[in-house]
Symmetry: C4
Subunit: 365 residues, 4 copies
Amino acid sequence: VVEKLTTSLGEYERRARGLLPSELFDRWFGSRDDPLWLTNTNNVDGYDRVFLRPRVLAAEPAVGLSTAVLGIDVDSPVYLAPAGAQGRFNPEAELASARAARSAGTIFALSSASTYSMEEVREVSDGPLLFQLYVLKDRGLTSELVKRAENAGYAAIIVTVDEPATRSGERDGASNALRESRQPKGLKSHTPTTPFGNLRGTGINSEEDMLDAMEARLNWAVIDWIRGITDLPLIIKGIQVPEDARLAVDHGAQAVVVSNHGGHSLNGAYPTILSMPEIVDAVAGEAEVHLDGGIRRGTDVLKALGLGARAVAIGRGMYWGLAVGGEGGVKEVLDVLQEELYLACLFCSVTDIRAVDRTLVRLPR
Amino acid sequence: VVEKLTTSLGEYERRARGLLPSELFDRWFGSRDDPLWLTNTNNVDGYDRVFLRPRVLAAEPAVGLSTAVLGIDVDSPVYLAPAGAQGRFNPEAELASARAARSAGTIFALSSASTYSMEEVREVSDGPLLFQLYVLKDRGLTSELVKRAENAGYAAIIVTVDEPATRSGERDGASNALRESRQPKGLKSHTPTTPFGNLRGTGINSEEDMLDAMEARLNWAVIDWIRGITDLPLIIKGIQVPEDARLAVDHGAQAVVVSNHGGHSLNGAYPTILSMPEIVDAVAGEAEVHLDGGIRRGTDVLKALGLGARAVAIGRGMYWGLAVGGEGGVKEVLDVLQEELYLACLFCSVTDIRAVDRTLVRLPR
Amino acid sequence: VVEKLTTSLGEYERRARGLLPSELFDRWFGSRDDPLWLTNTNNVDGYDRVFLRPRVLAAEPAVGLSTAVLGIDVDSPVYLAPAGAQGRFNPEAELASARAARSAGTIFALSSASTYSMEEVREVSDGPLLFQLYVLKDRGLTSELVKRAENAGYAAIIVTVDEPATRSGERDGASNALRESRQPKGLKSHTPTTPFGNLRGTGINSEEDMLDAMEARLNWAVIDWIRGITDLPLIIKGIQVPEDARLAVDHGAQAVVVSNHGGHSLNGAYPTILSMPEIVDAVAGEAEVHLDGGIRRGTDVLKALGLGARAVAIGRGMYWGLAVGGEGGVKEVLDVLQEELYLACLFCSVTDIRAVDRTLVRLPR
Amino acid sequence: VVEKLTTSLGEYERRARGLLPSELFDRWFGSRDDPLWLTNTNNVDGYDRVFLRPRVLAAEPAVGLSTAVLGIDVDSPVYLAPAGAQGRFNPEAELASARAARSAGTIFALSSASTYSMEEVREVSDGPLLFQLYVLKDRGLTSELVKRAENAGYAAIIVTVDEPATRSGERDGASNALRESRQPKGLKSHTPTTPFGNLRGTGINSEEDMLDAMEARLNWAVIDWIRGITDLPLIIKGIQVPEDARLAVDHGAQAVVVSNHGGHSLNGAYPTILSMPEIVDAVAGEAEVHLDGGIRRGTDVLKALGLGARAVAIGRGMYWGLAVGGEGGVKEVLDVLQEELYLACLFCSVTDIRAVDRTLVRLPR
C-alpha cells in the first residue's frame, strides 16, 4: 500500500515558497528573520532534541500504521489540522484537502474559518471529519454551528482555546503589504464573496468581522456550555501545560491537542514535543493526547507517538501541498509522512504503532 | 486604549542604525563583532532560555497592565531607564522622553548625566519622575542634587552602584573616532554648552570632568549617608548577586534594580533575567525587584514579572525611539512593549500582571 | 613503523568530493543540506562532546597499538567496515581495500553486496577477513554464502540487522539522478556484469533484485538459525540500545557493532559514541563491543576505546581512500588513523591500548 | 600606574595576522578551519561558560593587583609563558619579551628552545626569570642546563611534561610550506646560526635535532631526578587531571601549570579553565596552581584567580606583541591585560586579587 518516496515536506516547502507571493508565504509560514516565528522554529528544532531508540530483530510480518482516533479507525496517525482560509492557496481549498485525507485513509479537520462550508466539504468526502469551533460572542450562532456539524456527520468538535481573538499588529502590517501585492506568482487562488464559508449570511464578511465576532473571554464555563449542547466528543486544542490538560479531562474532553498554534499565537512558546511527557502524565490515560507543530518527518511522528500521542496533526504541510498541487499535493504530503513513518517503524522494529511507549524514546537530559 | 502594533523594537533598532553615525551607534549599542558587548547579547539571549507556560480558558473581562511601582500607580510595568546624554540622539533629549513616559502612563527616570536638568524635565511633565544619582566626591554637591530632586517632586532616588567611575579605554578609543566623525546622517543632535544639565555652574563640563568628579569608592557607608539625607525611597541599581540584594534591603533600599548596566560595565556578565530567581528569593518580598537589560519584546517583560520583577526598565529602546522620532518615537516604543505585553497576557490567560508568579515560567534546567 | 603524517581524513574527504560526481558523493556521503544525513553529522559531532583525560609522566618504552579482535592479532584497532559496491569508487574495489588492510596489519570486512566475490578477495589477501551477511529470503542461498565464507577462511560472520531491506525513496530519487549523470570526473569505476560478486549466477543482478532478495523480517530466530549453521564467531552489527546488546550476547554473539549504518538507515539516530557506555555496561564483558560511525581522527578512536570498544570500523574513510588513490589511498587512510592514534596515546601516556578504561574519558554531563 | 586602554589582545591578533606570513601564523596560532586547533578554541570558549559574580559597594582605597608567585613579588598575576623560537617573530626575540616583562613588573619564563640563551636574557633583565626545561636524553646536558639556570639567577625550573617529543605530521606539512615561503610581509626575523641559543655547541642545530634530543619517555622518576639535582622550586607544566596534580605535589613540585600546551599537543583537549576546580581541590593548597591557554581578557584572568589560580601565563598574546611591536608590543599586551584586570576588579569590588575565591565565580551547570 505504501508507495515509493520521491520527495519530502522540506521539498514541498521549497516549492511552495517559489510559488507563493513572498508576503503571503512569510505571513503564513514565517521566516528565520522574523522573531514572531521563533515558536515555530522551536517546535521544529524540538524534535532534534528527542532521539529514537531503535530496536532490532523484532520484525513481524507487517508494520501496522492504522490506529483509532476517538474511536475512528484510520490508516495513519497523521491527520489534517483545522487550518483556515485554504482558498488563499488553492481554489479547491478544503474540498481538495478533505478529498486527500479521505483517500489517505485519515481524518480531515475543518476550521470554522474555512473557505468552504462544512456541508460543502461533507458533500465531497464520506471520510471522517472533525469540526473546529471558534466560540463566537453570539452563542446562538455558535450553537447553530455545532448543530450543523452534528447534522453533517462530523465526528467531534475541536474547541480552539489559544486564539484570544487578537492578532499581533506586526503581522497585520505584513497583511497590509499582502493586500497591496496580490499578484500570486502562477497561483490561482479562490476569491469567494465571503472568506468564511460556514458563516455566509451572518454578516461576517472579513477577517476584521471575524475577530470582532469571536469570543475573547474564553473560560471553562464556556467549555461546560459546549459540553452541554452536544453529545459529540470534545477536543480541546491549544493545551501547553499539564494543569490545563487535567482541567480539560475534568471538564469532559475526550482529547486534548498539545499545540501552540504553530507558533502563530504566543511568540517564543515551548516546543510542543517537549511538553508531551508531563501532559501525558497529567492526562493519565483518561483522554487522548494529540500534538501539532513542527512535524516535518516520519521520525517526528514516531517520536510523538513514543511520548504518548495518539495522533498528530499537520498544518503547514497541508498548505504547501495545496499550493503546489491541490488535492494531489496534499495527498502526496500525507503519503510522504506515512511512508516515512513506515520506514521509521521498520528501522525501529515497531510492528504496531498502537503499542509504542516511552522506551522508544531518549529524552534530552 | 491599546492601539494596533505595526512595528517592533527590532524595527526601531534597524531604523536607528540607519540614522546614526556608526561610531555612535556602535559605542552606545554595540555590535556583534565587539566582545565588549557580549554582556548585552547575553542579556538578550537569556530571555530565550526562559519559557512562558501559557494557561488557557481563564479569561476575565479585561487584562490589567497597571501596577504600582514604589507606591506610584502606573499604566504599565515598563519604565524608562535613567540613561544619560540623550541630547546626542535628539535635541529634545530627556524632555521628549519624559513627555513620552507621561503620555504612556509610566515613569521616567532621569540620569545625573542628563542633557537637560531635573527642573527642566519637571517643567514639561507632571508625571512620575525618579532621579538617578551618581555619587560625587563632592558630597555637598551630591546632597544638593538630592535636595533639588526632592524639591522638584522626584519620587525616589536611584543610586547606581555598578559604575566605578572608570571606562574601558577600548571604548574610549571608539569615542575618539566618534569625535572625528561628528556628521550625523540626517540626525539633529543637541550641543549644549555643558553636556550635563544638572551640573551647570559646577565646573563639570565634559565627560572627563564627570569621571573625575564621580566617587570611585562606593561602599555601604555611602548608601547609609544617602539614606540619612533624604526621606525619598531609595533604589539601588546594579545588583547582580543575592548577597548584595540582601544587603541593599538591610541598608534601607525600597527597591533593587537587577542590572549589569546594559553590558556597559563588566564584560561577559550573567544575563540579568537568569539572575532573577535567586535575587528575588534573597529579597524575600521586603523590597521591590526591578530589572533592566535586553528587554526587546512584551514576552520578555512578562517573563521578568513571572520571575518576580515589579517593573522593568528600558534603555536602548528609548534611545532608538529618540533617534528615530523624538517624543513620538519613544512613545511608540513604549506602546509597542505595552501592546506586546497585553498580547502575551492574553495568550497566557493573565488577567492582572500583579498576580503573576513563577508558575508562569519554565526555567532552564 | 609509523610514518610521518602529511594528510588527514578531512583532506581525503575534500579530495574525494572534488573527484566524484556530486550525485554519487551526496548519495553516499551526504551533505549538510540534506536532513537524511543528520545522523552522520550527529555521529561525527558526538566525539566533540567526549573529552580525553590526558595523563602525563607515565611513559613506557613503547606505545602498543596492537590488540586482538575476536582472537585475531592485529596491529591496530581500526578495521575496514563491510561497505558494499566499492566498484563504484575504484575498479580494483574490494581487492584494493583488502590489500590495504593486510598491509596495514588489520582486518578487512567484506560486504555481501561487494563488487568482487569473497573468493576473489581471499585470492589477493592472506590477511584476516570477516564476511558480512545480509540474510536472504532464500535460506539455502544464505547458508551457502556462510559455507563459502568458511571455506575461504573468513574468520567471522557479521550479521547486519539494521537494514530492513527498504531504502528511503528520497535517496532513490537521488539515485535516479545518479544514473543519468554517470560521467565521473576523472574517476575510473568498475562496471561488472553483475554488481554483486558474491551472487553471480543467482539471478540477483541489480540493486532492486537485491532489495527483493533480502529478508525484511529479521528476528532473533534468524540469528539462532545462523548460530546453528556455522561455528564461526558471530558479530551482530547495528545495535543501538543496551537491551539489544544483551540479547545479542544471550543469542551467542561474540561481538556487537554499535552502529546506525553511518546514518544511512534511521534519520536522526543517536551518536554511536554516546551510546557506548550503557551498551558496554549491558554486555558486561561477555562479548566484544565494536563501534562505527563518524570516526575521523585518532582521538576519536581513543575515545571509543576508552569507552570500552575493542575495535572501531571505518566506512566513509575507506571509500574516500579508494576514490582518491585505490589501494594506496586506503592504506594511507589507515596509516593516518594509526599515526594519529599513536600520537593521541603519546599525549595521554597510554602505553597499551588494551589497558585503557573509562578513566581516560570525560563524558558529557 | 595603570594607563588608558586603547587596544586589546583581539586587536593585536588581527594586526599580527596582517603582518605575518599566513603559513607561520596558521602553524603557530591556528585557524578555525583546522581541527588541530580545536583545543585552543575550546580553551578560549571555556571562559564564556564561567561567569563572574560582581559584588558592589565594597570599594577600598585601591585595587591591588600585586601578588607573590613562588615567593616572588610581582605587580601582576599575568606572566609570560615559556614559548620558544621567538626569533621567528622579532629579531630581539626573548630579549624584547624579558625586558617587557621586567618593565611590567612581572615574570618572564624562558623556553629551553629559546632563540637567545638564558645568560643573554639575564644580561638584559634583572627581573624575575624562570627556566623551562625540556628533559633531554643526554642527562649530563640536561643537568648542565639546570646548573646554568641556577648560576644565572633563574628563580625556578619549569618542567614541561605534555610534549612527548613528537609533532603531528599534518603540522609538519604546514611547516614545509612555511620553509618554501619565507618572505615575511614586512617582518624582520632573526636567523641565528642555531635556532636554540641555550644549546650552542651541542650539535643540536635544527628542529629535527631537537626532537631527536628530547627525552620521549618522561615519567615520575625523571621528576625525582630533577628534584634531586637542584634546590630551585619545581613547576610541573602540562597537568590536565587532578590525579597528576596530586602526584606532582607528592613528587615535590612547588607549582603545577594547568595547560594543554595551548592546543598544540592533544587535539580536542578539555578547556583548561574548566579543569581548574577539581585540580585545585586535589592540590589542596600544598602547591600553587597556574594556568595557561586561551587568556584574552582581564576577565579571563579574574575568572582563573577566582577558581584558585595563583597566576596565569600568556603565550599567543606575547608572540602577537613581539610581531607587532617587539618589546613595546609585548609591554602593551601585558599592560592591556593588567588594565582590563584592574577594571574587572573594580566592577566586581575586588580590592586585593590575593583574596578572591570561588564565590566570585558562577560555574556552568
